[in-house]
């Protein structure tokens, strides 16, 4: 799995996984979030518009990332989930913990 990254105004880091977020790719996402936070960027948006499929490992990686960002005084938000991702978030009630935003720019408010 590939991860595109981008910095938005206001020092928000965007991570955009491309493909299926499953067992094989979750280690990469966890590492990337940790490195981003260690690098001083604690506000992260995971743009899920190119994540065609997620499983429970992928959910675990998002939650782990959320905890990492929050422990560093920041936050991790998700945006633009695809249909299957949205379905899985709802069924697991993780749409309350991870609260998907409709846009990347709006995930940390004002834009």
């Amino acid at each position: 799995m590939e991860f595109d990254t981008q910095t938005l105004d206001g020092s928000v880091e965007v991570i955009r996984p491309r493909g299926r977020l499953t067992m094989i790719s979750t280690a990469g996402l966890r590492t990337l979030v940790t490195e981003t936070v260690d690098g001083g960027s604690t506000r992260i948006v995971v743009d899920l518009s190119a994540t065609e499929f997620i499983d429970s490992s992928g959910l675990g990686a998002l939650i782990a990332g959320l905890k990492t960002a929050r422990q560093a005084g920041g936050d991790l938000r998700i945006a633009c989930p695809t249909e299957q991702v949205e379905m899985v978030l709802k069924l697991t009630n993780l749409d309350r913990v991870l609260r998907p935003h409709p846009t990347v720019e709006g995930a940390f408010g004002a834009a």
Partner: protein
């Protein structure tokens, strides 16, 4: 399984690549059955993804040490999609009736089977002749 089942190649070993092989196979199946609606495709993909991930995860250190083979076949009927995932790993201890989402909403693990049960109408496990066999059924258009 009826003869028009779609299947992984025989002798496929339980390795992480199988997660992608399984999803690729499903995508191939949908091209043959374009009238399977999106909700059913996603439900089956999700259930299969969880079970295959469990198979691969638990195939790491079998006793006695050996290659674990995995078999996966998909059959689409007018009213249902049925997938059978079988593997030669060690027997699985699971009480499918007792599976729920973790109490801790920030738990990083433990949702797979609960999720499978939400997207499938039937999830059954049996052990026969050295094979674990998971059967997942989704009723179409529910």
């Amino acid at each position: 399984m009826p003869p028009e089942a779609h299947r992984l190649p025989g002798g496929t070993l339980a390795r992480p690549e199988v997660l992608d092989l399984a999803q690729d196979l499903l995508e191939e199946v949908w091209t043959c059955y374009p009238d399977v609606v999106a909700a059913d495709r996603m439900g089956i993909a999700t259930a299969v993804g969880e079970i295959v991930a469990n198979v691969v995860e638990h195939s790491g250190q079998p006793v006695p040490p050996r290659d674990v083979e995995v078999d996966l076949s998909v059959a689409v009927g007018p009213d249902r999609v049925e997938v059978v995932i079988a593997d030669t790993g060690d027997p699985v201890q699971v009480d499918l009736g007792a599976v729920t989402m973790p109490d801790d909403e920030e738990a990083e693990n433990g949702r797979g089977l609960a999720l499978t049960r939400l997207v499938a109408d039937e999830v059954a496990y049996e052990r026969e002749d050295g094979w674990n066999r998971w059967r997942v059924v989704r009723l179409r258009g529910r």
